[in-house]
């Protein structure tokens, strides 16, 4: 399986480099030898125990190494009218930043840079130098190594010191191709001291071919900065989404990451938040609604390296039909991270006999003055509650919906953008009613 990619790299590495930026190319060969060594991850590895990549990786995908422009105008494809969500809107088509920005976007605050990694790297190499690959290149992971070897571009966002973005940035990823297609991208987000930003990432597919996306996102949150990361996945079920989100937090920073899978094929989200300064707050949450043969694996770690920080993690899964869910929540408290307060919860509902859930919360604690806990449950809907509602005249179907909706609600409540929260409530309800069984365009903007 690896062989074709090894051959491809050996034959094409010149072109790959030619169409990328120096800061990426610097790390490319090392990443490639790492990939040569590791290969693609298998279920024998703890991190991929519950995600078997054999089938999706056996497909013969096309890669756009020579960066041929895709003939699509996302503004035509998606009739976005952004109800209530005023945002700075950007598009990524497959793995390339769409160069034309929305004419309706208002001017960004001074010093804020949003664009393609490749372009910014040529204009302001000094901005990326200290950050690019600093988190990802230290990881022993075949998919990340693959990304290092093949990613040629990605999304870039820079918020200078003390700048507060007044509106969320909305990034719409569109997968568009006529043949089975693999998109490989590497995003970089930098918030300087005291900066504040919200990013909403939506994943979509428009063509009925097989897609595989391998995306690495690195986020650096400096002292006193606040960063919110929302990811909404709404892709068709021939999509394989392999994403890595690496966040590093400096002192007194605040991070919220909320990862929602509404519709997908096979998803493996690896999320690692490295809390490397005192007095940080971290909130990581997520929700999965899956049916048919969908598979979602959220593999998360929160690493507390410094004292006096707090973190909360909450993940909820609703699994129907033959869907498979997996969750790993690793909570690591280093020796010096005294007074850490870290709480983790994972709750799962199985709606059918054929649905499967695997959960693996872990506490690894080396400091003594801590308060840490985790709780995990797997079960079905509360029958007594359902009966109570039926006894009040609510139909069984409606009672089920109400309960499921209530179940997912606290993840939605964690969204700090009110308009997005409202929108999510509607979308989740639609999804639970089976009205969103197929992704159709940009749900956020519908």
């Amino acid at each position: 399986m690896e062989q074709q990619y090894l051959d491809l790299y050996k034959a094409q590495h010149e072109s790959i480099k030619k169409h990328s930026a120096k800061v990426m190319n610097n790390l490319r060969d090392a990443a490639f030898s790492q990939f040569e060594k590791l290969g693609f991850p298998t279920v024998a590895l703890e991190n991929y125990k519950y995600t078997d990549l054999k089938e999706p990786l056996s497909i013969d995908y096309g890669l756009n190494i020579n960066r041929i422009p895709i003939p699509v105008n996302p503004y035509d494809v998606f009739k976005c009218d952004v109800p209530g969500i005023h945002s700075y809107l950007y598009f990524v088509v497959n793995d390339g930043f769409y160069p034309v920005s929305d004419p309706r976007n208002s001017k960004l605050p001074d010093g804020v840079i949003i664009g393609s990694v490749k372009e910014v790297a040529t204009l302001h190499p000094e901005l990326l130098q200290d950050y690019f690959g600093k988190l990802s290149s230290t990881k022993e992971d075949g998919l990340i190594a693959f990304n290092g070897a093949f990613a040629q571009d990605g999304f870039f966002m820079y918020i200078p010191e003390n700048v507060i973005l007044d509106k969320p940035v909305q990034l719409v990823n569109i997968m568009r191709a006529d043949v089975d297609f693999m998109a490989v991208s590497h995003n970089l987000i930098i918030l300087e001291k005291g900066a504040k930003a919200q990013l909403l990432v939506c994943d979509h597919t428009v063509d009925e071919v097989r897609f595989l996306s391998n995306r690495v996102t690195e986020v650096f949150v400096a002292e006193n900065a606040t960063y919110e990361h929302y990811k909404l996945e709404n892709a068709h079920n021939k999509t394989t989404n392999l994403s890595t989100l690496l966040i590093k937090q400096q002192a007194s920073s605040n991070v919220l990451a909320n990862v929602i899978t509404l519709h997908n094929g096979l998803t493996h989200n690896m999320i690692e938040i490295d809390v490397d300064g005192e007095h940080c707050e971290t909130e990581l949450c997520g929700m999965v609604i899956a049916d048919k043969n969908q598979q979602v694996d959220n593999f998360t770690s929160i690493i507390h390296n410094k004292p006096n920080c707090s973190s909360r993690e909450l993940f909820k899964y609703v699994l129907d039909d033959s869907s498979k869910g997996a969750f790993t929540g690793k909570l690591y408290v280093a020796k010096d991270a005294q007074k850490t307060a870290a709480f983790q919860t994972n709750r799962n509902i199985l709606l059918k006999k054929t649905a499967k859930m695997r959960t693996k919360p872990q506490l690894e604690i080396y400091a003594d003055d801590v308060k840490c806990s985790h709780g995990a449950t797997i079960g079905s809907l509360d029958e007594t509650a359902k009966f109570y509602m039926q006894a009040r005249g609510i139909s069984e179907e409606e009672a089920r919906l109400l309960l499921m909706f209530a179940f997912t609600n606290d993840v939605i409540e964690n969204i700090r953008i009110p308009a997005l929260q409202d929108r999510m409530k509607i979308l989740v309800e639609k999804r639970l009613r089976g009205e969103l069984s197929k992704c159709e365009g940009c749900v956020i903007c519908q």
Binding site: Q338, M357, L363, D368, S373, S380
Partner: protein, 478 residues
């Protein structure tokens, strides 16, 4: 709590560990097929037993040491170990020859006199008391048709039962240490409770004496036939002297329809000194099968000893409506490492399991809970509840929790809760204000914390275990 006190109490040595030079009838060190044959012939075993050992030995050669546990296991040279040792020859003749420190511990634990002698390694025939105790027990048990004897005796006298059940729960291919045990096991105990019989006594006092010199590769098999009940106690609160560093035991339990087996362990083997030198490596495979409907197995363990503990008493819930429990207290101090927990495998309908684990870490120790709850597709209405708490005493130790939950049936309810925190300073101060020293306060609080588990032990054992925690804490934790 002031760090001074913590330092002081976590640095006190394990007072009761010691080694003795003993003359033994030892097979040359190292392991090969001839050694396996020699062990078998020394024990006068039948051919089928030798075949079993050899099969296991050959398989063992193909296996690798597992590395998934949160343990740092030093390289073990399996060729430098003696795999068979006959009983001691120059054992002490009376209590006067026994280490007074050891006797003091027995005193504190309130262990009866005749047992003290046996436990100190005094040759069994010198202990008239216990011999008569043993005989009385044996008589009353055999009247009920209960078989309770050493594993070797069972091989000789009840070969059909042994053949039928041995290795039926832990296959000889199970894991590195279990396979090694199958090849070279020394001795152990065998219990058979016939249909409809409730074993009238805890198989404990007797066992303690019986179990002397079973060596490092112990093997226990308990079969509870339909509608029977037995409570079995393994180990003892007294510090176990043992010059063997590697222990790899197997315990198998079979519970038939409506049968109930309670298995309780108190493990207090030498943990090594405060620099982490010496100490027992304890790699145990314990597994029970709830074979029949409505059967029940419960594991209760209090683990305070050993340098390294690797142990996961597990249950296969095969019979419909069967249930299983796992209650554990594990205390680690100095350089001790413990990776312990359970596996609950739900196969039958309406099966329930309950896990309660309390970890206490002090010194430089690492204490991990590792568990798996697996609900098979056919296990309708399975229920599991797990609670894993960790208490930290001191800032140089670690407490870890690795539960795995795999659910393949929508009618299952699986719940897991875990907490980790340090000992509560307000509680210590409250005790101080009532005149109780910090050391005693820690003892009280930790015992309270472990209470739910200690309560599951049979009465006589519970009292000893409680004292043991107190002593362990007095001497080494708090």
């Amino acid at each position: 709590m002031s760090t001074d006190i913590l330092n002081e109490v976590t640095q006190t040595d394990y007072k009761y560990g010691f080694t003795t030079d003993i003359e033994t009838d030892i097979i040359p060190i190292g392991l090969n097929e001839d050694v396996v044959r020699l062990i078998s012939s020394k024990k006068n075993e039948p051919e089928w037993m030798l075949e079993f050992r050899l099969k296991a030995y050959r398989h063992w050669l193909t296996m690798k040491l597992p590395d998934w546990a949160h343990l740092n296991i030093p390289e073990i040279d399996y060729q430098s170990i003696a795999y068979y040792a006959a009983p001691r020859i120059n054992a002490p003749k009376s209590l006067d020859e026994v280490d007074p420190e050891l006797l003091k511990t027995f005193e504190k634990l309130g262990i009866p006199l005749h047992e003290r002698m046996a436990l100190s390694g005094i040759a069994v025939d010198a202990v008239m008391d216990s011999v008569s105790v043993k005989t009385t027990f044996k008589e009353s048990l055999s009247e009920l048709g209960i078989i309770f004897c050493s594993f070797s005796e069972a091989v000789e006298n009840h070969p059909d039962l042994v053949k039928k059940y041995m290795s039926s729960v832990v296959p000889y291919t199970d894991n590195f240490f279990a396979t090694l045990n199958c090849a070279v096991f020394s001795d152990g105990s065998f219990v058979y409770i016939p249909k409809g019989v409730r074993c009238p006594m805890e198989l404990s006092t007797y066992f303690r004496i019986n179990a002397m010199n079973t060596g490092q590769f112990e093997r226990t098999l308990i079969v509870a036939d339909e509608d029977s009940y037995v409570s079995y106690l393994e180990g003892c609160t007294a510090p176990m002297r043992d010059e063997n560093q590697l222990h790899a035991a197997i315990v198998e339990i079979v519970a038939m329809k409506n049968a109930e087996v309670k298995y309780s362990t108190v493990q207090n083997w030498y943990p090594g000194d405060k620099n982490g030198v010496g100490g027992i490596y304890n790699f145990v495979t314990k597994r029970g099968i709830c074979k029949g409907a409505y059967s029940k197995i419960s594991w209760t363990q209090v683990e305070t000893g050993s340098a390294i503990t690797w142990k996961y008493p597990s249950c296969i819930l095969l019979g419909d409506n069967s249930s299983a429990e796992f209650y554990s207290v594990a205390v680690t101090n100095h350089h001790q490492q413990a990776d312990t927990g359970t596996k609950m495998l739900h196969i039958g309908k309406n099966t329930t399991s309950h896990i309660l684990s309390k970890g206490i870490s002090a010194g430089l120790s690492q204490n991990s809970y590792r568990g798996l709850v697996k609900i098979n597709p056919a296990a309708e209405n399975a229920r599991n509840f797990s609670q894993c708490d960790s208490l930290l005493l001191g800032d140089k130790c670690g407490a870890h929790t690795f539960p795995y939950m795999e659910v393949n049936n929508d009618t299952a309810i699986v719940e897991h809760e875990a907490t980790t925190s340090k000992i509560n300073e307000d509680q210590i101060f409250y005790c101080n204000q009532r005149g109780i020293s910090t050391e005693d306060a820690v003892g009280l609080i930790v015992n309270g914390y472990a209470k739910e588990v200690l309560n599951k032990l049979p009465m006589e054992f519970a009292v000893e275990a409680q004292k043991l925690l107190q002593i362990t804490l007095e001497g080494s934790v708090g």
